[in-house]
């Protein structure tokens, strides 16, 4: 237990960050010029951190696997970004944002971190506007807001349905400015292969040039990883194809603890899987739930007919439809938080009420809204989403079918939950430092702010908070005494060994020469994860899952086939490396899920639910962050450490969205 020191500053929660900043150590301007920082990743967190550190005077080396920093998957976030500006005069405040985030996270987040997040949220909006991010405006020229799930105020700032894109381009432009100034050196199409630890401190990385296939060594005074989440462990998710957890797993293998891996967010409104050739799932914005009603048939025979294709959604009359969210949660109706909506859909489909040929979909129906508001108004609100849905499925959700007994029937959408975000991540202290000194983790990559469930529009907020306003301060606390030490040479044995190990591992993968492609094994992994470590978890299921994962790793190690050579660009080799780490990650998620004998947020254990089927937390036994320490080999089970949560500002309660 001694290993985990969260280093939360003294004082009441509202003053901690101010106190920290007042007393932290700083690096003087001259010394900043002598210090190098490696930032891996160029998403919201990575790009904003690299830019801010560069502005301060540090020499930054910034890496990304794509061809440009602007491609990072932060770009795909649609909805918006929260901030406690209270521009709408609806009673918002830093405290309220803090409270909503902690409650939304099912009381499993670290209080002090969340408060700081809420505190700097306002700066983010100011910063982004100054950069020229074109947020939506009202006619008077003021910033517009909308509301999102889990909040009673309108605090979400947005730029059409492309907020993530605009924020990322803002951070990218700040980064570009620093590249031009020579303060940031950009390495695109580079992938971090390992972190190099010298004398117990992170001193550099081994990175692979993805075009030449060569391994290169980079030394620095600190390493920051901002490489996102591990959602692609499930194969099908809303993550981009390139999203992977290899950098995070490399840190984990080098001794950084991994926290709360079982907290995985499943988004309720995605386009259902249509076949086994599918590569990824497309998200339909949460905002659709404002006007769409979610339903399945009341009668099992109707569901059977829908699955067989002999009936269509509009053949089911109004009285035979089960609007199950409105039935179960009269107060919030279709707008319950993501984890609740997802589980309810799964529950119906498990009972056989699924509505497409796979039986894994529910309807999202706009008939009532169209009848009430007119198709023009609905298209005004969701036209681009309707078009996107039609392009993918060939069904136009606004198409009129028939009128019967005074009810108009329009073609409904079909939706199903899908993996979307991972709340778990590398364990960090208040200063965002991992258990390896000199190694920092920011953004989705760390575990710190969302607890067991993330609220909509909070991911962008956290990424930018870490990158712009938290890490650039806290890293100085670490770097302040580093200027006096000579930089570690890349010729040291530690660098040589790390490179050799990566190279040997590459040779091993190339040398297996089995029969199966990377994707076929990855699909199998995704299937195991979704079936056994998905939305509803049980002890037996998880144990079975762990067994299957072990067998899968054996299959991977013995029957993988990677074509081509290790020199030059080899996309299959890169995918194979990612898959190796996804399997490790899958086991970690299952292990954590098995140990956490309670239900909270995104982690739902079927043994632990109330009579109405709601998540039942066990604050007595599990009011802690579960941190896993690697034991030197993938074959050995990781060891659990606990960081006890301490709440002083908020009273821990049961989440209630019914009334």
């Amino acid at each position: 237990m001694t290993k985990l020191n969260s280093r939360i500053p003294e004082g009441p929660v509202a003053e901690k960050w101010t106190n920290f900043k007042a007393h932290q150590k700083l690096v003087n301007p001259k010394n900043k010029l002598k210090l190098d920082v490696i930032v891996v990743g160029t998403g919201l967190a990575g790009a904003s951190a690299a830019a801010s550190l560069g502005e301060m005077g540090f020499n930054v080396l910034n890496f990304c696997i794509q061809d440009s920093p602007r491609r990072a998957h932060s770009i795909a976030a649609q909805g918006g970004i929260n901030a406690a500006k209270n521009y709408q005069n609806d009673g918002d405040s830093v405290y309220r944002l803090f409270y909503d985030t902690v409650k939304g996270g099912d009381y499993r987040a670290r209080e002090a971190n969340v408060y700081r997040l809420a505190e700097v949220s306002n700066n983010i909006i100011d910063q982004c506007v100054a950069q020229g991010v074109p947020f939506a405006r009202e006619y008077g020229g003021m910033l517009a807001n909308r509301s999102f799930g889990g909040a009673q105020v309108s605090r979400t700032f947005y730029a059409k349905g492309q907020t993530g894109q605009q924020l990322l381009l803002g951070a990218y432009s700040a980064l570009s400015r620093m590249v031009e100034a020579g303060k940031v050196k950009l390495y695109t199409r580079y992938e971090m292969a390992d972190v190099v630890v010298v004398d117990g401190r992170a001193r550099g990385i081994i990175a692979k040039n993805l075009v030449t296939g060569k391994l290169e060594r980079f030394t620095a005074n600190a390493v920051v990883i901002a490489t996102g989440g591990y959602g692609n462990t499930y194969f099908l998710s809303t993550n981009a194809m390139g999203c992977n957890c290899s950098a995070a797993v490399a840190c984990y293998r080098k001794g950084a603890m991994f926290a709360n891996p079982s907290y995985v967010q499943i988004h309720p409104t995605c386009i259902p899987v249509h076949g086994d050739k599918q590569s990824k799932l497309t998200l339909m914005s949460e905002s659709l739930r404002n006007d769409g009603r979610i339903w399945v048939p009341k009668k099992l025979e109707d569901a059977k007919a829908l699955q067989a294709g002999t009936k269509q959604g509009w053949d089911i009359p109004e009285e035979d439809r089960d609007y199950y969210l409105e039935r179960r949660y009269p107060a919030f109706g279709n707008l319950v938080p993501r984890d609740v909506a997802s589980r309810a859909a799964k529950e119906r489909c498990d009972k056989g009420f699924g509505v497409n040929n796979t039986g894994l979909a529910v309807f999202l129906d706009f008939s009532e809204s169209i009848q009430r508001l007119g198709i023009d108004e609905i298209r005004q609100r969701y036209g681009n989403l309707f078009d996107m849905y039609e392009e993918i499925t060939d069904v136009n959700p606004g198409e009129f079918v028939k009128s019967a007994n005074g009810v108009d029937y329009y073609k409904p959408m079909m939706i199903f939950p899908a993996i979307h975000y991972t709340m778990g991540g590398i364990w960090v202290d208040y200063e965002l430092q991992t258990t390896i000194p000199g190694l920092f983790a920011i953004g989705e990559c760390n575990f710190s702010d969302h607890g067991a469930n993330r609220l909509g529009a909070s991911a962008l907020m956290q990424g930018l908070a870490d990158g712009y306003f938290v890490l650039p301060y806290t890293i100085q606390n670490y770097l302040s005494d580093q200027a006096v030490w000579p930089k570690v040479s890349t010729d040291t044995p530690e660098f040589a060994e790390a490179e050799k190990a990566v190279d040997a591992e590459t040779d091993r993968l190339m040398g297996i020469q089995g029969k199966r492609s990377v994707d076929s094994i990855h699909k199998e992994l995704g299937h195991i994860m979704w079936e056994h470590v998905g939305m509803g978890r049980t002890k037996e299921g998880l144990e079975e899952g762990l067994k299957l994962l072990k067998a899968l790793r054996k299959e991977f190690n013995e029957n993988l086939f990677v074509p081509g050579k290790k020199e030059g660009l080899n996309i299959e080799l890169d995918k194979a490396i990612h898959l190796r780490d996804f399997i490790t990650m899958g086991e970690l998620v299952a292990t954590d899920a098995l140990h956490r004998e309670e239900s909270c947020g995104g982690h739902f254990r079927e043994e632990h639910q109330t009579e109405e089927g709601e998540a039942k937390r066990d604050d007595e036994n599990f009011f802690y962050v579960g941190c896993w320490e690697y034991q030197g080999s993938d074959e050995k089970a990781p060891v659990l450490h606990k960081e006890k949560l301490e709440y002083e500002a908020i009273k821990v309660q049961t989440r209630n969205y019914k009334n």
């Binding site: 061809d67 990072a72 910063q127 020229g132 074109p134 947020f135 730029a159 076949g275 599918q278 712009y468």
Partner: protein, 252 residues
Amino acid sequence: MAKNISFTIKYWKQNGPKDKGHFDTHEMKNIPDDTSFLEMLDILNEELITEGKEPFVFDHDCREGICGMCSLYINGTPHGKTATGATTCQLYMRRFNDGDTITVEPWRSAAFPVIKDCMVDRSAFDKIIQAGGYTSVRTGQPQDANAILIPKQDADEAMDCATCIGCGACVAACKNGSAMLFISSKVSQLALLPQGKPEAAKRVKAMVARMDELGFGNCTNTRACEAVCPKNETIANIARMNREFLKAKCKD
């Protein structure tokens, strides 16, 4: 319900920028038409790997039309033909017919050298943004966001310019290999907003100079770029950039 189609795919293979390159062909059998174009290529690669061959290399990432990574020139059109303009990843096989021959090529432009097969190097776009596609503000304590009032119309227009995803389809479609639509979208976004005004002249000069330096062609107003832009950027942006450039040069 999905129906299956069979077709011939002709795809570009090129081993690095110096290689001459050639087409390979492959027969695709019984592909469900609700498969996306890139999923179809996944199937192709799976089949190639099963035959022990190296896969066909192309750029792709988010597969929801926003990251700008995918960049295939399909049957004579960047990103292929869709109803409303979309990226390659949003193209579905129902747009093709049984028995078709589908030709897939990389973006072809001197400023975008081929890395391998259909993967090209678009770092020139980054270099152009680095020349001035930003406002020079430091992270820290700028004024309150609402201290700058921006008329809704200006904000909306700036947003339309800012939706550019930097995929490079404009360059790929242009017979002159010109990047004016890309650059003008960024110049326009910042020229329309008060935050961008102080540096407007400096920005447009620097970005145009960098564009010329990198060997992009000159715009001859053919409008091929806006015809293929997946985000519907228009050449009104180019006119605005020309205006900004002339203004800046006349002030010198």
